[in-house]
Amino acid sequence: MTSALAMSQPAISEKVPGLKAQLRRAERLRKLKAIALVAPLAIFLVIAFVIPISNMLWRSVDNSEVMQVMPETARLLTEWDGKDLPSEAVFSVFAQELRDSRTGGGLGRIGRRLNYEDPTFRTLLTQTLRTLPATTEKTWSETLQSIHPRWSETDTWLALQRAAPATTDRYLLAALDLQRGSDGSIERIDENQRVYQQVFVRTLVIAGGVTLICLLMGFPLAYLLATLPTSQSNLLMIFVLLPFWTSLLVRTAAWIVLLQSGGLVNTTLMTLGLIESPLQLVFNRIGVFFAMVHILLPFMILPLYSVMKGISPVYQRAATSLGAHPFAAFWQIYVPQTLSGVAAGTILVFIMAIGYYITPALVGGPSDQMVSYFVAYYTNTTNNWGMAAALGTFLLIATLLLYLVYHKLVNQKQLIRN
């Protein structure tokens, strides 16, 4: 009652007790409705997006194999100073846990993990296990050392120690061609083993090139679409969208058919006498650019078109009436107004391009493979989830950084509009 009276008074600036609570109560139902509407999508996103991605990100630092299969050994080894051979206690626990690892597939898991430290480790483990007695009269250190001389080398145990902690940065470092040296400092790996820095650079170069070509080809087309009468632009728009109706794989394969040595393009050019011998157009960088630009072009055209559609042609008229040559009017007045569309299209195409896998794999050569190819290689072929996750993490970071840049640009644009 009192608050109702207060509200009817003109002095709004005076605080009315309980007004906030009233507002909250009044808005509660509306909020609940909104939440209920969003809930299915939010739950879906959590299950299908947040959880798998966090899981994959975790795998890039996950090092739990040894710790899970040999918990005691791992614990004791973290306390070991690494100078002399470990104590008898370590040997005995290790022998016990190694024997236990035969059941439940534990041996395979630590074998694969330890092979990343030293490629012969799995063999060492299986050989040791073959002759490992259930009990021994001697100490376990002597027994193990008699089974294989490598158990008397500190390096063997150091490798085991490196694999013992729950987390590791080795995958992340390896994804950047880096590693921990024997003293624990970060160093670059041997020159002839470096791969990923080059792959990342190549990925960025291909994605950047594809984006640039898409922009150069998409801008005039989007402009045409935005300025043509509706009936004609609708027809053109269907042609722009037509590729979406065909599967990505089919489109990529079609490019192989078109561009290969005996393909349509080469035969036509040779029949016309323009070239003597077939051009190498596919299974190299050219093929990758052809196919990727073709597939990604609509993603450039659509945001550009939507922005251009909203720009009134009167601005260019105004500029020419103020004495600007039509080209200058276009460049100084029209193009700056399309920048938000350019930013959206560019970011969209670039982000999609850096994740491309199938197309470069099919129409590219060995030196045209991008990061995703190696992610697939590690997940499908070698089962090294740590490396796959680490490479994926860096791709994700690159994408997020770009998105931030885009967000900044678009926000600035909106500032201008308001």
Binding site: S312, V314, Y315, R317, A318, A319, T320, S321, L322, G323, A324, H325, P326, A328, A329, Q332, I333, P336, Q337, L339, I416, R417, N418
Partner: protein, 366 residues
């Protein structure tokens, strides 16, 4: 000799025709001279060809036939950016990605005027439109009236020989529009501008212009001063389009030099000023302004007096409009100042209406 060069028009349309589809003429045989320093308004309903004329002058449309001259120069093939004509667009067309100052600098930059001079000119015009403190704002941060003033300033800052305005006040509310009308009129007087103004708002045209060209159907119906347009409309279209007007269909009985005898309704006759090209026996339309009709005119000694029925009072503050029925036309309006109205009058009363010969004209039958 001196006199003739002075009388040389700044803008000359000579036999201009325009068609978009090759079938219908949007502008038919337009001949129009505009003197230097004149404020000419092209007025007409939408589709009457007025905007097309303006666009041909600006260079965004080309005449299908005929010539347009600006001074001595034939404009037909001259591209818009070489015409040196300032233009204010309907929705201002201020560049949204530039500040007010950059917008005003733009026409100077395209003319390669040195930065210092350009800055000076912009400062000067900004203080003239009283927007100096808004120089670094974006157009979207200004109110409609402020945007309008910037658009005006941008069309003036490069001192063009001619300024075109395409319904520049259409987007403003009534009060602001009336204020801007005066502001533009004052600028025109102070700077000695030559302005061609397009509008469909007749009161705007009357307020601002030296001369108004009334367009309909691609033809200039009449071009004259606001006063003459209102008081001496050349035809029924102009009479109806400019101001309020009562229309009574009739027939010319006899015609003397300037006046004629017209019969209308069931046996009514009045004397009226005769319009052009009308002869006795022709059908005609009588045109009388509501404020020229006198109420209860018995004592006024007017030549033409008629009985009518009062149907409705429409109160408008400073005056009243009375809707009456006269000679079968129940949309006959009389305008009466509030203080001249007899308080006993009520709807349904029989009243007497009258007018002088000089206030009614017999015009062409539409």
């Amino acid at each position: 000799m001196q006199l003739t060069t002075e009388m040389e028009p700044l803008v000359r349309f000579s036999g201009v025709q325009k068609t978009y589809d090759g079938e219908h003429l949007v502008v038919k045989d337009l001949n129009l001279n505009i003197q230097k320093g004149e404020f000419v308004t092209l007025l007409g309903p939408s589709g009457s060809g007025k905007t097309t004329c303006l666009m041909m002058l600006a260079g965004f449309e080309t005449p299908t036939s005929g010539d347009i001259f600006l001074g001595q120069e034939r404009l037909n093939t001259l591209p818009p950016h070489k015409r040196n004509i300032g233009m204010v667009f309907q929705n201002y067309a201020l560049f949204p990605h530039m500040s007010v100052e950059e917008n005003l600098l733009y026409p100077l930059k395209t003319r390669k005027i040195s930065k210092a001079i350009a800055k000076e000119k912009v400062d000067k015009i900004l203080s003239k439109i009283k927007l100096k403190e808004f120089a670094h704002r974006r157009p979207s941060q200004l109110s409609g009236g402020q945007q309008q003033r910037v658009a005006l300033a941008r069309a003036l800052v490069f001192e063009p020989q001619l300024v075109l305005m395409d319904e520049p006040l259409g987007a403003l509310d009534k009060q602001l529009r009336e204020h801007m009308q005066l502001e533009i009129k004052h600028l025109h007087e102070q700077l000695g501008l030559t302005v061609v103004f397009v509008t469909h708002d007749q009161s705007e045209a009357l307020t601002m212009s030296d001369r108004v060209a009334v367009f309909n159907d691609g033809v200039i119906q009449q071009i004259d001063t606001p006063h003459n347009l209102y008081e001496y409309p050349a035809n029924s279209f102009v009479a109806q389009f400019i101001g309020e007007n009562n229309t009574l269909p009739g027939k010319i009985q006899s015609k003397e030099q300037n006046t004629c005898q017209v019969s209308f309704g069931d046996g009514f006759t009045t004397r009226a000023l005769a319009g052009k090209n009308l002869n006795s026996g022709d059908k005609t339309q009588l045109s009388i302004r509501p404020e020229r009709v006198r109420l209860n005119s018995g004592h006024l000694n007017l030549e033409n007096q008629f009985n009518a029925t009062l149907h409705e009072f429409i109160y408008l503050g400073d005056h009243l409009r009375l809707r009456c029925e006269l000679a079968g036309n129940d949309q006959f309006y009389v305008k009466v100042p509030v203080n001249e109205l007899c308080p006993n009058l009520k709807a349904g009363d029989r009243i007497q209406l009258g007018w002088s010969d000089q206030d009614v004209r017999a015009l062409d039958y539409l």
